[in-house]
């Protein structure tokens, strides 16, 4: 069952953003939409026609396809507990980061293709912040590789808990970093506010101002998938192999729901940073992952 992880991620993606919205609405004292509302929105978008700007070229039309395809490939690389992902090889997390970068590349040039000043602004911010977030992910994966001695998602996650119980502490720290990386990658709260109505303060939302219909649906759904992918990575930190599927699947779902609630909570209680403060925040993230690296160095005894 190599595809189990992929199937679960797709299932989670249906309700993940719904839970985020629900959490936000409960905290703000509203009843809020049902948790499947985002998926229904996407379904509605799929049934609409497209509006293309006269300025755009074929880049704008293929960009959402490639962005979505890159996320699909990324989710195929994620393992699930004792199961490998659909693709699993040494160094697959490098491929994971780079395939997501392909999607980002097209997202950015798709935005620039419209010739809109707003979308250029969003593209510029997206390119800068996601580049700054990249080192944190790699340091983290490097630390995990150092801890376990392996260099693929599957091997790292299956062997992470064979050492001492301190690895759970690392897991907790690592999930903290992953949550924040997911927030940056998906342009959520402390860095970007998806609910803002002013183009000047947007990042991701402003990049897709001109997308409509099927394309917009693809982009939205890719975002949901991305969230679920990061949730799956976090869940993997706590899924020990050997546990039966009737343990690991509930753990997986529980972690995902918890992650969604955390995202919703962060969004409810934090304000968006000023744009100029974002880099500092992202640098702080990198230093946390460096801390993890130092901790791992201590654990494996390289300091002696």
């Amino acid at each position: 069952m190599r595809g189990l992880g992929a199937i679960l991620i797709i299932l989670t993606s249906f309700f993940f953003t719904g839970i985020v919205f629900r959490t936000k609405s409960i905290f703000s004292g509203r009843k809020g939409p049902g948790i499947f509302q985002p998926v229904k929105d996407i379904w509605r978008l799929f049934q609409k026609g497209n509006v293309y700007s006269e300025t755009t070229s074929f880049i704008f039309r293929i960009a959402p396809n490639i962005y979505f395809a890159s996320v699909v490939i990324a989710l195929m690389l994620i393992p699930f507990g004792g199961q490998k992902g659909i693709f699993s090889f040494t160094g697959d997390f490098v491929f994971f980061a780079y395939i997501l970068a392909v999607g980002k590349f097209f997202n950015i040039i798709g935005a620039l293709d419209t010739g809109s000043s707003f979308e250029g602004m969003g593209a510029s911010r997206e390119a800068l912040y996601s580049l700054l977030a990249e080192p944190a992910f790699f340091i983290l994966m490097g630390s995990l590789a150092l801890l376990t001695g392996y260099t693929s998602f599957y091997d790292i996650f299956t062997s992470i808990h064979f050492g001492s119980s301190i690895s759970y502490a690392i897991g907790a720290l690592a999930s903290f970093v992953f949550v924040l990386i997911a927030m940056i990658e998906n342009s959520r709260m402390p860095v970007d506010d998806p609910a803002t109505h002013l183009e000047l303060t947007m990042m991701h939302e402003v990049m897709i101002l001109d997308n409509s219909g099927f394309d917009l649906g693809l982009i939205f759904y890719a975002t949901h998938l991305k969230f679920a992918i990061y949730g799956a990575i976090i869940a993997n930190l706590f899924l020990t192999p050997g546990k039966e599927w009737f343990y690991s699947i509930p753990i997986f779902i529980a972690v995902q729901i918890l992650f969604a609630i955390v995202v919703g909570t962060i969004e409810s209680f934090m304000a968006r940073f000023r744009m100029s403060h974002n880099p500092q925040f992202i640098f702080a993230l990198t230093s946390i992952s460096l801390l993890i690296f130092l901790t791992v160095l201590l654990i494996v005894g390289k300091f002696l």
């Binding site: 699993s88 040039i109 419209t114 809109s116 510029s124």
Partner: protein
């Protein structure tokens, strides 16, 4: 008749032919010559790469001694790489030069130098006699100087050319010092003498020898801080020359470093750290400066520095692998470096050809005045896009494969070895990630601003796509880029012989197999990615078939009269980045203030400058200028004075010898006392 003589005769014949034929024909003659020379050398080189070395001894008389022509797997790999780029270069160049016909009369000279340059590069890869090597190297330097200054009537071209000439001679000087040192001790010019010499002295001395030669070759390769000639020379040369220079000529430096690593016996761990440190700085500094450049070719030139850094990281990793005796690290490092050398020669030459096509279409290289070119030049845009994605290291193109190999080595090494090794490797990973991310920022800017949106300035002539024969070499390169990106496992097999020269008995096949298998999985995912894109496109077509597709203006927040001036510019696109990185940059900014309610036209100019150039070139030059200004009165142009100086000089020499006698006499006297 030996192969090298055949190549020399062919070259001589075609150079003369270019000289005596019509200007119109010279490009095609050069093409034939390059084809013949490339054909002969590639045949031998391919056999060398697959394991069959070629050796030939030329008699060099009493001065040179025997000149061995050896093509081993390393030379073979570099010759194959070089031949391909030179071939696409001449295919592109002979069309590019059509624009200059009947204008300058320098075209035959240009193409003759091109032929000579090609042959001297082949020579550099296979001549293994240090004196002859220096001669061939000098031939390459001079012919490329002629190639660069094709538009010599422009003052900045001449200035950049002379800058190049001087710096390449500093490079030759350092290499000469290294070679003379060895040959004065061993009385032989053969390259084998270098390894004999370094085996006979202590590790520190041979490391010192390596550093001298490394710096010499690093100037050619463009490692920071020896890179300052590169951002001047690349932009002023004709585009096919920039492509060949950036693609293969700076790789001569990489080849030199690799060759010296093979010859000089040393502590590989130290060398590895040393090269890694240089490379990380080069890689980061190159891309950091590339982003703020708005001259397209200058931007590409800084990216060459970045990619040299990536190649160097591979070499450093490989050397560390040799130092700690780990086959996977060594293989991943050297294979990554050699493959990236090939990859860079492909996408960088493609980018320069694209820049040349754009330049000839709109007559400017300033990114800020471009925009919307994708509609007028769709094929050029696609070629540029492929190259841009490849240089960012994005799958499914070739840049990813070599970077993946290097990443693989880094992560493999993290849990081996000591604390210092682990820390260095994680820092290298961070550097490589940052380089990748910054390159993405840079090339989304370049592609987005040049090709997308609407035109930012109007041109008084029709802008149209280049002719098919000018685009053909570009498509040829794209084909190669895709083959490497989609079937990387083939190239790992090809690389096994060149890498085995370094790893020796350490390799023994296992890492090659493991790596090939690894890349097979990578290529499978890559194919799935392409399949996924296709499937999504088909689904989209199927779903939206019944829906209406409408064209309308870009959403401008209800503003209905947008102009192209409202678009994001290259400067504004990188503004956030520029503010973040300001301490490392030197931006010379001329800005006027807005005065009054109805301001007059104000001008704001930014000229990015290189801080390292200020420290290493400009300040020392200024200091020397001040110092030498004091004795400038001697240089007064009066012949009689010069004769007087000569006489005084001879006189001083005589006095010195007398003084010497006096000193000897005095010391004897003191000893006796």
């Amino acid at each position: 008749m030996s192969l090298s003589l055949i190549i020399l005769c062919v070259t001589l014949f075609f150079v003369l032919l270019v000289g005596f034929s019509k200007e119109k024909w010279s490009g095609n003659i050069a093409l034939v010559s390059v084809l013949i020379n490339a054909g002969i050398s590639s045949w031998v080189a391919f056999k060398a790469v697959t394991g069959q070395e070629y050796i030939e001894i030329l008699g060099g008389g009493s001065i040179f001694g025997d000149i061995p022509i050896r093509i081993d797997a390393l030379s073979g790999w570099f010759i194959l790489m070089m031949n391909f780029t030179v071939l696409t270069g001449i295919l592109y160049g002979r069309r590019y030069m059509k624009h200059y016909e009947n204008k300058s009369g320098m075209i035959p000279l240009h193409f003759a130098s091109f032929i000579i340059c090609h042959v001297s590069m082949i020579g550099i890869f296979c001549v293994q006699n240090s004196l002859a090597f220096l001669y061939v190297w000098e031939m390459m330097a001079l012919s490329s100087f002629v190639l660069i200054i094709f538009e010599y009537k422009k003052p900045e071209t001449l200035k950049a050319g002379i800058n190049f000439l001087i710096q390449s001679h500093v490079c030759i000087l350092l290499v000469t010092v290294g070679f003379i040192w060895v040959s004065s001790r061993t009385n032989s010019f053969d390259f084998n003498a270098i390894s004999q010499f370094s085996a006979s002295v202590s590790a520190e001395v041979s490391f010192f020898l390596f550093i001298i030669l490394f710096i010499g070759f690093a100037i050619k390769a463009g490692f920071v801080p020896f890179h300052t000639w590169l951002p001047y020379a690349h932009p002023v040369a004709p585009s096919h020359v920039s492509g060949v220079m950036s693609g293969v000529m700076i790789k001569l430096g990489i080849f030199g470093i690799l060759r010296m690593m093979l010859l000089i016996n040393q502590n590989y761990l130290t060398t590895g750290y040393f090269i890694l440190a240089f490379s990380i700085i080069s890689g980061l500094y190159g891309v950091i400066l590339a982003i703020v450049q708005h001259d397209l070719k200058k931007l590409l030139a800084y990216h060459s520095i970045e990619n040299i850094g990536i190649i160097g990281m591979g070499i450093g990793l490989g050397a560390i692998g040799l130092g700690i005796q780990n086959p996977v690290l060594a293989f991943a490092g050297f294979a990554g470096a050699l493959l990236h050398t090939l990859n860079h020669s492909l996408f960088k030459s493609l980018l320069f050809y694209g820049a040349g096509t754009i330049y000839q279409a709109i007559h400017t290289l300033n990114i800020e005045s471009m925009g919307g070119l994708i509609k007028k030049m769709p094929q050029t845009a696609i070629l540029f896009l492929v190259a841009a994605m490849a240089i960012c290291g994005l799958p499914p193109f070739n840049g990813f494969i070599s970077e993946f190999l290097i990443y693989r080595g880094f992560f493999e090494g993290i849990h081996l070895g000591s604390l210092s090794l682990t820390t260095v490797l994680i820092l290298s990973v961070v550097a490589l990630v940052l380089i990748g991310g910054l390159a993405l920022l840079c090339f989304t800017k370049a592609f987005g601003i040049i090709f997308l949106g609407t035109a930012r300035s109007e041109f008084d002539h029709e802008v149209h796509e280049a002719e098919a024969s000018k685009l053909f070499p570009g498509w040829l390169v794209v084909l190669f880029i895709l083959i490497i990106g989609l079937f990387p496992q083939i190239f790992i097999q090809l690389l096994s012989n060149p890498v085995a020269l370094f790893t020796g008995s350490l390799g023994n096949g296992t890492p090659v197999m493991a790596m090939a298998k690894n890349l097979q999985s990578v290529s499978m995912v890559t194919w799935t990615f392409i399949l996924a894109i296709a499937v999504i496109a088909v689904i989209k077509k199927f779903v939206v078939r019944n829906h209406k597709t409408v064209a309308s203006p870009t959403w401008g927040c209800a503003y209905v009269a947008p102009t192209s001036k409202m678009q994001y510019t290259a400067g504004s696109y990188v503004r956030g980045y520029r503010k973040l990185i300001r301490p490392l940059l030197q931006l010379n900014k001329n800005e006027e203030n807005i005065e009054g309610v109805f301001s007059k036209t104000i001008v704001s100019e930014t000229h990015p400058y290189d801080k390292i150039e200020v420290i290493f070139i400009d300040r020392p030059l200024k200091f020397m200028n001040n110092l030498l200004a004091r004795v400038r009165f001697l240089q007064n142009g009066n012949v009689r004075h010069y004769i007087l100086y000569g006489v005084i000089f001879i006189f001083i020499i005589v006095i010195f010898s007398l003084l010497n006698d006096a000193v000897i006499y005095l010391t004897k006297l003191i000893k006796q006392i």
